[in-house]
């Protein structure tokens, strides 16, 4: 792997940028691997990267049915934060945040991580009580956060309406200064390049069609490119988790829903942070190109088609118009949908499955992007050691039987 630097830029500039090395190989699949990671999104590639880097397991394949970064990794609204209420969630997302902070250097790939801060707005007295409680809980867990008054919000976000005119006026917000945004495709590409350099085979256009088992243990996967053997199979497929689990005869507490996002036409710089509102249900940031990046909640029904209903678009736009009257005549350029696997307690399932050698990392719902590095890090540990790391031990499938749920639904200021 050629290291990217100012010198490599100059060297390639003089040869008209025609001699850049491909960022990763496209090898033919081998007959057998030590570990197969199913799903070449950010989480899957991060898992493969940390398997190689932290645990020295390099005989690994990442199988992707489409192309790298073509699923939810390239379909989210790129927000990164770690201000979750409950200890288990806060510590997991904070691990991720710490990895984000050094990620561009570590991967030698610019993931454009920009710590521009994230606001979570409160619109009624109970919202504000919850925000105070969450900020206090965050600080006890070493996660940064402050409570902001409407005037302080207005100073940072001049275009927001803090008057009493809206139906749900802004009464305050929590603010996490270390939160922000990152370039989503670059995260997938950076991890792919790093994993490939360590010897991991990234195999695109290779759909898993079955999980082969003998005596209750995994022996490999059937794919559109033939059978590939492995004693350990790690499944990280977001919206299709239910489909893959069914191949192994496992039932999961997941429902797949469409989640839509939008970008507007490019505008001059309008605000340089991220604003999220749970109550009116919408969130917005501005990309470096000037587009407003907008997201909201899931479409209510189960679905695997990567699109959603107009009702949801209308609802999101109405919410944003209340917060930012200035955007009323802005035109939307693009709209798209991803398929998210939502869990009853809005927390992921990361761990061993009832079939020996099968591991799953799923249920991230609407909030998986921010967790990409941490998710891969703890999942790699789980697969390599055959037991969960202490950071993800609580996120087992068994919690739905024991009742030890981690109820982040509504608790985390999240637009889930």
């Amino acid at each position: 792997m050629t290291k990217y630097s100012i010198f490599s830029l100059l060297r390639n500039a003089v040869s008209y940028n025609e001699n850049w090395q491909a960022a990763w190989r496209s090898p033919e699949p081998k007959a057998e691997y030590d570990v197969i990671v199913v799903g070449g999104g950010g989480h899957g590639l991060a898992t493969a990267y940390y398997l190689a880097k932290e645990h020295g397991i390099t005989n690994v394949a990442v199988l992707e049915k489409g192309w790298i970064g073509g699923g939810n990794t390239g379909r989210n609204t790129t927000i990164v934060r770690s201000n979750y209420l409950w200890d288990e969630a806060a510590l997991l997302y904070e691990k991720s945040m710490k990895l984000w902070e050094g990620l561009s250097q570590e991967l030698n790939y610019n993931v454009m991580f920009s710590q521009r801060g994230v606001f979570n707005l409160g619109h009624n007295l109970q919202d504000m009580r919850d925000i105070h409680r969450r900020v206090n809980a965050n600080r006890l867990n070493g996660v940064d956060g402050v409570v902001m008054s409407p005037d302080e919000i207005k100073a940072k976000v001049p275009c927001i309406d803090i008057t009493s005119k809206p139906r749900y006026p802004v009464l305050g917000a929590s603010f996490q200064p270390r939160g922000g945004v990152a370039r989503h495709d670059a995260v997938a590409w950076g991890y792919a390049r790093g994993a490939d350099a360590a010897g991991v085979d990234i195999i695109q256009n290779c759909e898993v069609t079955g999980i082969r088992r003998e005596d209750g243990a995994v022996t490999g996967v059937e794919t559109s490119r033939g059978f590939i053997g492995a004693k350990k199979v790690a499944v990280v497929v977001a919206g299709h988790s239910g489909v893959l689990a069914e191949m192994a005869g496992i039932r999961l507490p997941l429902e797949s829903h469409p989640l839509q996002a939008f970008v507007s036409e490019p505008l001059k710089p309008m605000f340089d942070t991220v604003v999220m509102s749970n109550a009116v249900h919408g969130y917005m940031s501005q990309s470096d190109k000037g587009e407003l990046v907008i997201g909201a909640g899931i479409d209510s029904y189960n679905g695997y088609g990567q699109r959603g209903s107009f009702t949801t678009i209308e609802h999101t736009m109405a919410a944003l118009m209340e917060l930012f009257p200035i955007v009323s005549r802005v035109r939307m350029l693009r709209q798209w949908g991803g398929i998210v696997d939502t869990c009853p307690d809005a927390c992921p399932i990361i761990g061993k499955m009832p079939v020996k050698g099968l591991y799953m990392n799923c249920g991230w719902g609407t909030g998986g992007f921010k967790a990409t590095p941490g998710s891969g890090w703890v999942f790699a540990h789980t697969v390599a050691q055959d037991e969960p790391h202490e950071l993800n031990a609580a996120f087992s499938l068994e919690r739905f039987i024991s009742g030890a749920l981690i109820d982040e639904h509504g608790a985390a200021g999240v637009a889930h």
Binding site: G242, N302, G303, S402
Partner: protein, 99 residues
Amino acid sequence: MLLITCPYCGDSRDESDFTYGGEAHIKRPLDPDALTDQEWADYLFMRTNTKGYFREMWNCSSGCRRWFNAERNTVTNHFRSFYRIGEQPPVPDTEVNNG
């Protein structure tokens, strides 16, 4: 946008007139005291997250306010049938996912 037909009202209306109720035909346990934790988890949380034709519940929340069932393809959003609570689905179990 989904166009949904309430089998009670009989007319076809926009999805915003309806509320989604998730997977249909989940049976409430007859003897809750006898259930193990595993069986409770199956009833409360575990779901058949079907890719293809899926039986689901809708509520006619802006109309007659009654619950009914539907069969919808979760990839194409095509509705195959709408039927009342208590009725058997028009397509038998063995053919539920074929086409």
